[in-house]
Symmetry: C2
């Protein structure tokens, strides 16, 4: 296991403790798999990935674990091809958000330090402790606008 992975485990454990949740074997396995994932996934897809790697974890458990991963900052909401919600691992190098073309479906990832910074400011103004966020822009990409 890389030091990065180990670090993530430690963070996850402390995040769980903070919320009086247990660090179980199943959660450890899911954490490790998710940390290595570079693709966007939905709950069902994550279950299939885990199954494909030989882990015997029930589908419902995966569904129940995703909110925990979100709250602990391990994953963030993302976008994907299916109709449900998609997620992706939180990259240490900073959040990115998404633009989605409502004509061709193209997804553009963007980063804006300014937006992140004002987002933090707004949270501070309200005494709100941010766990994760979801920021998507829908419209027409350069190729699809008239």
């Amino acid at each position: 296991m890389s030091s990065k992975g180990r670090q993530a485990s430690v963070d996850f454990q402390s995040q769980l403790q903070k919320r009086n949740l247990k660090y179980t074997h199943v959660r450890e396995v899911i954490l490790n798999e998710v940390m290595g994932l570079k693709v966007h996934f939905d709950a069902d897809g994550l279950f299939e990935i885990l199954k494909g790697k030989g882990h015997r974890i029930a589908r419902d458990t995966v569904y129940r674990t995703i909110p925990v991963l979100l709250e602990c900052g391990v994953i963030q909401k993302s976008v994907g091809a299916g109709k449900g919600e998609y997620f992706e691992r939180v990259d240490n190098r900073g959040h990115h958000d998404h633009m989605v073309c409502i004509r061709c479906g193209k997804v553009i990832e963007f980063r804006s330090d300014e937006i992140e910074s004002y987002q933090s400011k707004v949270c501070a103004d309200y005494g709100f402790e941010l766990s994760f966020h979801d920021h998507k822009l829908f419209g027409y990409c350069a190729g699809c606008r008239n």
Copy 2:
């Protein structure tokens, strides 16, 4: 009908034309009801509201109309108590976004002209024509954080 309502109709019609969609009686009725709505609603809820006012519009039509309303800038994504997606009328006075407490469920509406402005800048950078956006912050409200 107020001048505001009339204005919205005109905008809606031109938005529909731009996309080669038809301005039907059903869409007119839905538009008018939505423009008067101050609450957050989901697809099913909107259907019930329409039914309650005596309109005979099929549930599926409401589901099929919501994406159209989104694209035409009549409604925006919002938050609500149920598990599905919620929407709300776009207020002429500007967008607002939402913070959601993942402990007590409290919803705080916030506005940030700075975020809106940098959001526009990002879109411009990518040649992206923004139709609507979805920006939610999840975490602990002032009363729920430790």
